[in-house]
Amino acid sequence: MTALLEARQVVVRFGGLEAVGGLDMAVARGAIHGLIGPNGAGKTTVLNVLTGFIRPTAGRLVFDGEEIGGLNVNGFARRGLARTFQNIRLFGAMTVLESVLVGAHQRFSSSAPALIFGGRAARAAERAMIARAHELLTFVGLGREVVDRVATTLSYGHQRRVEIARALMSSPKLLLLDEPLAGMNALEKQEIADLVRQVRAQGIAVLLIEHDMQIVRSLCDHLTVLEYGKRLADGAPEKVLSDPAVQAAYLGRTR
């Protein structure tokens, strides 16, 4: 079976600095794929490349058998790549329900006249998406009481969950999470890890950046280790984490 997402020889240069140097990686369908590495290794840059935020200096991106390198950011999203942000980026002034509905943007198609004159199809689509949003909010563990609150007034942990629900709203094939566990306590981390497993159980592949090695070891099926923008190791977690080169990179730099 071919990979869901494949990056081939991706290079990113900012001026003279090479942030990513000839990276090859592949995310398999239905996998939970971890992207790890010491601080400054280029993890977020890679995630930004994979979601279209940064256009690579060189290299190819193939998603679901299609070349996607030249698309706009919204093109990536429309093809089925949904993401969350390292610093949560919810829409201020919007309620939780409204924010989550933005994730379903591409699934609406009513014309302006249909919206203005209240077409039956437009109403049905809205109803269906609101129902779906409620399902997803329940799925990520948020109760009905938060639905109409302004999203940015929720607690940090709840905001993360809203962001995940918003990303899932587009029915993605691949969900990319940039440090979804950052700033959480042990219990919350377990809850989010369980949530990620449930997402995978629905057939959605997950790529995540994470620092907590215990969680990474238990959660991920596959790991890619970055150091200085290059691939240091790639494979099953047990194998990768026992690799002396990986251990040296981590021990040498984090303590």
């Binding site: 706009n72 919007m94 943007h105 302006a112 919206l115 609101i130 129902a131 918003r166």
Partner: protein
């Protein structure tokens, strides 16, 4: 060659004046990232103060006041110092409280400051020009170059002054400790504060120097053209801003270069293009728009200044203000929140109130005023789509309004009546066809103007749309065959239905009310759907919206189109209700006024534009009862400006902000409670 040389010399003088004003914009922008529109007015104050100080007596507020009659250098110095102090005071009162507010809040405040200063100047010095007095240097024989180019001694003085002032400033910024502190604050204000730089004092210094430069430019301008006038700063201010953007805003050498280029292009364009003098104002703005499209960072500027603003334009609730005012607002907010939650019933309630008022009001006079409230409310609703919901500050909205008004006026008067001799009542139905037609035309126009702005954000977007608005106005004035030029179009028929005239004030009011129902209903339906959610998402975080699959460029154009449609649609009725239109009806001031109404009422609400319009028009009328205002009608605009500044500081979200608009389709959630 002689002609060319003379134009070149004129261009250099004009360029020197633009360059000096551009330095003011660039200096303040560099330090606080604020486009201070009020520099045009400080320019004007410099001119008035110098002229007044040089005269033996001046008529101020209608009374003759003796003046010292200083020679030019002393008068100029006095004017520069006083204007510098005014600049610092303006910063302290109007801008400093907004230092951490979203960037467009101080921008809008600066527009309000501009309105206040201009109205005050008109109140003090009157509506007529104040002639610049004769003085020794101006009586000297002009210098003749190459036997044919005449340069007055004062022209040379203007150029020399500009060069000396700008070199001095560059040295000051490069060498002095205050200059170093300015550069540090420009790089990173927080970091500058952390290392102990008194940032507020540095900013005050930038305002003082900038205002001094504006005053210097203004007095040189007044000297060159021989007069001072309360509206003299408006166009040179915009052009200096253009020059600053041209050179790369934030860069002093860039401002000098930009001013020079603009002065030369304008002088040569006026001299060589057919009918160039009439079009010379358009030349600058075409240059501005073209440059912003191709190279928004300017010739010598840095690209990052076109940065994304996130979130609402004006920021959320402010906790500043006295207790009782907070309590009043709290009561008001609770009422609005309940009203907004009720949604459709509340809207019907308001409509019923409007209908009853329309039936009960006995005087035609008040019916006309109420009709204006509804018209301005509708126009502001159109502007609200783009500014309030999509978060794009559009200063060219009047152009869409003008498209609608002109389309119907040209068809009815110039084509059918004058061209074919068809009486308007025979084709009364055309009005109803024109409404959607003008809407579509203006929407198309809006998309056309919107497309080149897609790359721009924040201040630059505002400046570019402003350029478009000005270009449209200059075209309307000069394209005589199409628009009748400054004379305008007379005899536009009143609305008519099946041969029954709807010209009476009461009929017009209900006509306007019916249109308002259509406008609000259509806008509300769009906003309360995935389209509105996409707009608000773009306003709050464009990149995140894009990552959620929203094609942000396309949805910005949709917002322009919707906003343009409303403008064109309402413009048709406006023309028929006024029965006379001219380019004066569609000036930048009208756009600013509409913007103020939306801000006053509350950006991104349905009721806000109407609240703003109601308050404004009622205020205009009630103020007329005050004896002081009767004597000086311009003070009303000053008062509006003051109200807006106070509002920006104490209640930036607008009066009706609590009437929060839901972004899901009404009724679509009915069943979920089960």
């Amino acid at each position: 060659m002689d002609y060319f040389g003379q134009l070149l010399a004129n261009g250099l003088v004009l360029g020197a004046i633009y360059a000096l004003t551009a330095v003011a914009f660039t200096l303040v922008y560099g330090v606080v990232r604020l486009v201070n529109f009020a520099f045009g007015e400080l320019f004007m104050l410099g001119a008035f103060l110098t002229t007044s100080l040089m005269l033996p007596e001046v008529r101020l507020l209608g009374t003759v006041v003796p003046m010292p009659g200083f020679p030019l250098p002393i008068a100029a110095l006095g004017a520069i110092v006083v204007t510098g102090i005014i600049g610092v005071v303006v910063d302290r009162i109007a801008y400093r409280p907004l230092r951490n507010a979203p960037r467009l809040a101080p921008l809008i405040t600066s527009i309000a400051v501009s309105v206040v200063l201009q109205s005050l100047a008109q109140t003090i010095w009157g509506a007529e020009e104040l002639r610049f007095p004769q003085f020794y240097l101006a009586t000297l024989e002009p210098v003749v170059l190459f036997d044919s180019i005449y340069l007055s001694v004062m022209d040379l003085v203007v150029m020399a002054t500009a060069i000396v002032a700008m070199l001095g400033l560059s040295l000051f910024i490069a060498r002095s400790s205050l200059g170093r502190a300015m550069r540090a604050s420009a790089e990173d204000q927080t970091a500058a504060m952390l290392v102990g730089i008194p940032v507020n004092r540095v900013v005050a210094a930038a305002f003082a120097i900038g205002s001094g430069f504006a005053a210097l430019a203004g007095l040189l301008y007044a000297q060159t053209y021989g007069f001072a006038h309360s509206s003299m700063g408006f166009l040179p201010g915009l052009k200096a801003l253009t020059a600053a953007v041209l050179g790369g805003i934030g860069s002093v050498p860039g401002a000098a270069l930009g001013g020079l280029i603009l002065g030369l292009v304008e002088a040569l364009g006026a001299g060589y293009l057919p009918n160039g003098t009439a079009w010379k104002d358009a030349i600058s703005f075409v240059l501005l728009v073209g440059l912003l499209y191709l190279r928004p960072q300017g010739l010598l500027g840095r690209p990052e200044l076109n940065s994304a603003g996130r979130g609402s334009l004006l920021g959320g609730a402010s906790s500043a203000g006295v207790g009782w005012l907070q309590a009043v607002f709290a009561r008001f907010d609770a009422l609005l929140t309940r009203g907004a939650a009720a949604g459709t019933p509340a809207a019907f309630g308001l409509l019923a109130v409007a209908v009853v008022v329309g039936l009960m009001v006995p005087s035609d006079y008040w019916l006309r005023i109420l009709t204006m409230v509804v018209i301005y409310g509708m126009l502001a609703s159109g502007l609200n789509v783009i500014v309030g919901f999509a978060g794009l500050l559009d200063l060219g909205f009047v152009a869409f309004w003008a498209v609608g008004s002109y389309l119907t006026s040209i068809l009815f008067v110039l084509v059918l009546k004058d061209g074919y001799g068809i009486a308007p009542q025979e084709v009364w139905w055309l009005l109803y066809l024109n409404l959607p037609l003008a809407g579509l035309l203006a929407a198309g126009f809006a998309v056309l103007l919107g497309t080149p702005t897609l790359k721009l954000r924040g201040d630059y977007l505002a400046i570019m749309t402003l350029g478009f608005g000005e270009i449209v106005r200059v075209v309307a004035i000069n394209w005589m065959d199409l628009t009748n030029g400054p004379m305008g179009i007379r005899g536009i028929p009143a609305p008519n239905l099946f041969g029954i005239s709807l010209g009476s004030p009461r009929a017009q009011f209900f006509f306007a009310l019916a249109l308002a129902v259509v406008v609000v209903f259509a806008v509300a339906r769009l906003v309360r759907s995935y389209v509105g959610r996409a707009w608000v998402a773009i306003r709050e975080d464009e990149e995140a919206a894009e990552a959620m699959g929203v094609p942000t460029a396309r949805y910005k154009l949709y917002a322009y189109a919707a906003s343009g449609f409303v403008g064109g649609f309402v413009g048709v009725f406006y023309a028929h209700s006024q029965q006379y239109i001219s380019p004066l009806n569609f000036s930048l001031f009208e756009n600013i006024l509409l913007l103020m109404l939306v801000v006053l009422g509350g950006l991104g609400t349905f009721i806000g534009p109407f609240v703003g319009a109601l308050i404004w028009i009622a205020f205009l009328q009630l103020a007329l009862d005050l004896p002081f205002v009767q004597a000086y009608p311009e003070t009303r605009f000053a008062l509006l400006g003051v109200v807006l500044i106070v509002l920006m500081v104490f209640r930036p979200q607008g009066l009706a902000a609590s009437a929060r608009v839901g972004l899901t389709m009404p009724g679509a959630r009915a069943k979920e409670a089960a």
